[in-house]
Chain length 210, copies 2
DNA sequence: ACGGTCCTCGGTCGATGGACCTAGGTCCTC
DNA sequence: GAGGACCTAGGTCCATCGACCGAGGACCGT
């Protein structure tokens, strides 16, 4: 039929792309029109192929999922984006939703549910995994939640690489004092006790690639 | 044909299982005889289906990949095991190889290479991704490398959950001094500078699930 | 011009972490 | 029974971390 839902699959693993394609191709009303392996090519492919729905993995080398979302938005692409990932942290969900994601599901979803999710998103709904919705609600409940500034993200990234404050200071050309200030702010915003927890949080949330 | 290589796919993600199955089914000499979602059912399925080669993801909920390897060995299962994972740490490779894995490849492998890897493993060869081989060689070069004791693994697991020495001491019913001794030993064996790096190492190596 | 946020840096101070050394007890192996 | 791991625990010592305080300058929108 002519009005099948056109889907673009974006994931850095060929295996996962093939799996998703196979799942979706057996659905009569879905059509996988392309695959992208990273965030940057995703934006180009979306422009070229004009998909209705983009299945987007958040964690990818090069440009990550959130960057891809921003890129799509800036390009004015009307495609709905359904984030499919294995990370559960609200700090990963919030930026994605804010960046314009229309849905957020986990990778352990079963095929029929995934197909249903794509249809829902295509219909204009915002679809969240129940756990994600709960996390989101919890995040909204505590105002000013996990919203890190750009500089704090820089520092957290270094923390999540196992760097000491001194090393971070050198790497970012800062005073060690400034680094400590940022780290303290990060700990407060993330609601964790120390840098180790912050680093783990960053990894869980997909901010850094393990 | 009757003598196709029988493959069992073990991964906790349906999407990945489907992707692998699709990749392999198009190969004339390969036959996917089953799928398992976790380590325990993997051992049962291997017993029941009698595969020639088992494609095993190291990181899974419940019983992880290494446990599954031990289980297969104890059950006397003759199947070759090809580990396919996204982790790159030598501390993840070494236990897997020691536990009887015949191969170790990354998930970003392309389909033909994966098929070739399965054939090699089935033929009795040990197949390692070049990077893995290098890591393995480097690990062997420094004797007594990253071989943690059982207790140290317990402690590292807690470290990788973001616990402080005091919390770990309470959790494991130990003195804080003892915990510090273990932590120091862990840092030395892993070749890292502090607990944050150790925690990240644990996550990368798949010892804990993010 | 004003308030707000962010980035920068400073000081102090207590808590924590980790290095290094020693040592008793257990269990296993030779 | 003599090693040799491993687990446990203590001591000392110093570096690092993180909390809490303040403060100046840049940039923003109103």
């Amino acid at each position: 039929m002519a009005d099948r839902i056109r889907v673009l699959v974006v994931d850095d693993h060929p295996v996962v792309r093939q799996g998703l394609r196979t799942f979706l191709d057996v659905q009569d009303d879905l059509e996988v029109v392309g695959e992208s392996a990273d965030g940057t090519s995703c934006v180009d492919d979306a422009e070229r192929l004009g998909p209705d729905v983009i299945l987007l993995d958040l964690r990818m080398p090069g440009a990550d999922g959130v960057s891809a979302l921003h890129g799509l938005r800036e390009a004015g692409n009307p495609a709905k984006v359904l984030v499919i990932t294995s990370f559960t942290e609200p700090s990963a969900v919030l930026p994605a939703v804010r960046a314009g994601a229309s849905g957020y599901v986990y990778k352990d979803i079963d095929p029929p549910a995934l197909a249903a999710a794509i249809r829902s998103v295509h219909a204009g709904h915002v679809l969240l995994h129940p756990d994600v919705a709960r996390l989101l609600a919890a995040g909204e409940a505590r105002p000013g939640g996990a919203e890190l500034t750009a500089r704090e993200r820089d520092v957290l990234l270094e923390v999540a690489r196992g760097r000491s404050n001194r090393e971070i200071a050198r790497a970012l050309s800062l005073s060690e004092k400034t680094v400590k200030t940022h780290v303290s702010a990060i700990l407060g915003k993330l609601g964790v006790q120390d840098r180790t927890q912050a680093a783990l949080h960053a990894v869980r949330s997909g901010l850094v690639r393990p």
